[in-house]
Symmetry: C2
Subunit: 218 residues, 2 copies
């Protein structure tokens, strides 16, 4: 079933994201641990592939990186229970949840959705499809380097809600379709991007991917 | 160009929604008037077509209807200015922004996105494609009846941000693709749905559409 998911960036219909799913990251941003998963979405116009550019929009002064493991849906899932949901997973991809931290804080204070912080073009740099049999969802390392310095080095074993429980929670009310991506939250170490920075992200046994923060973007 | 947009529900990649875009509606929910458009998104798994059912999920006790005019994008739009953006519109459709009002209030108090209030399956009942030359975006009536009683009767002339200014605001940072739908906000008169209710919505010179709230849904 793998071959057709190589193109999930083109065929998928949505990106569902989970916030505050690693305890140390929730703490570094001063947030309480969630009792249920915190969900938001990104449109597929956020995708950028290996070697691509991340926009630094003029509306923000605090653009952050958040490396995350992405889960790629294989078979349509609607109200599939936790003990059966992993058979609906086609594979995984490393991804970055690019976030205007200042705008997110403003949205929080205005009690409105985080759309202008999370959903802008180029705000989901993403790696290649890795078939599910290559990854242990309960014990996979994810790494982000900024200008060749390691800034985030987490492991999916530290998730508050593990992958099957996230997928169960989502697909109880939101149908997941083939090619959809679920971003599973970021470990600690998030931080600001500067214009012109180079980011490298990886699941270490696979290749590093490169993304560049644009020097100029209006 | 119209023919290929009849299927926008299948071909579109996203639904971008605008909150509090009619002053009397902002007031009825006790919200201040926005200084810039408030945006959120719904995934395309929210779509329901004429005659379809709206789920009443067990997680809510206060499911609301919000009738809205939807704008259907024709040509890809990225950073198109306000004075040129209307040539990127293919047409319009009446739609309902179904909302778990109690969960939305909880999300607001927790300062998190409204995903579990707005993005659930069946939460975007939508009408047929109406080509742009049939609609005056600055003066179009939209109506919602609940069990044959008119509950909402608004006019797009009362929008706080008109359609070109909304589209300009969105496409400055979020590329709009052919078939994408933009929901432009609801006029006053929103209210609770009961299980088994019948909703009819229309742009009056076109047909009424019928949607049914499910009697039973876990
Ligand atoms: Mg994140
Ligand atoms: Mg959202
Ligand atoms: Mg609405």
């Amino acid at each position: 079933m793998s071959a057709k998911f190589v193109d999930f960036v083109k065929t998928g219909s949505k990106i569902v994201c989970v916030g505050r799913n690693y305890a140390k990251h929730a703490k570094e941003l001063g947030n309480a641990l969630p009792k249920t998963p915190i969900l938001f979405t990104k449109p597929t116009t956020c995708y950028v592939k290996d070697g691509g550019f991340i926009r630094y929009p003029s509306i923000t002064n605090d653009l952050h990186y958040e490396v995350e493991l992405g889960v790629i849906i294989g078979d349509k899932a609607s109200q599939v229970p936790q003990n059966k949901i992993m058979s609906h997973v086609a594979g995984y991809a490393i991804a970055i949840d690019i976030t205007c931290r200042d705008i997110q804080e403003q949205c929080k204070s205005e009690r409105i959705p985080w759309t202008m912080a999370k959903c802008l073009d180029t705000f989901c740099p993403v790696g290649s499809f890795v078939p599910s049999h290559e990854i242990d969802p309960y014990n996979t390392e994810i790494i982000l380097k900024q200008n060749n310095v390691i800034k985030q080095q987490g492991n999916t074993k530290d998730m508050i809600f593990n992958i099957p429980s996230l997928l169960e929670y989502i697909n109880r009310h939101i149908t997941l379709l083939p090619g959809d991506l679920v971003l599973t939250g970021t470990p600690e170490g998030v931080g600001p991007l500067k214009r012109g920075d180079e980011l490298h992200v990886a699941i270490p046994k696979f290749n590093y991917l490169t993304f560049l923060s644009m020097k100029d973007f209006v």
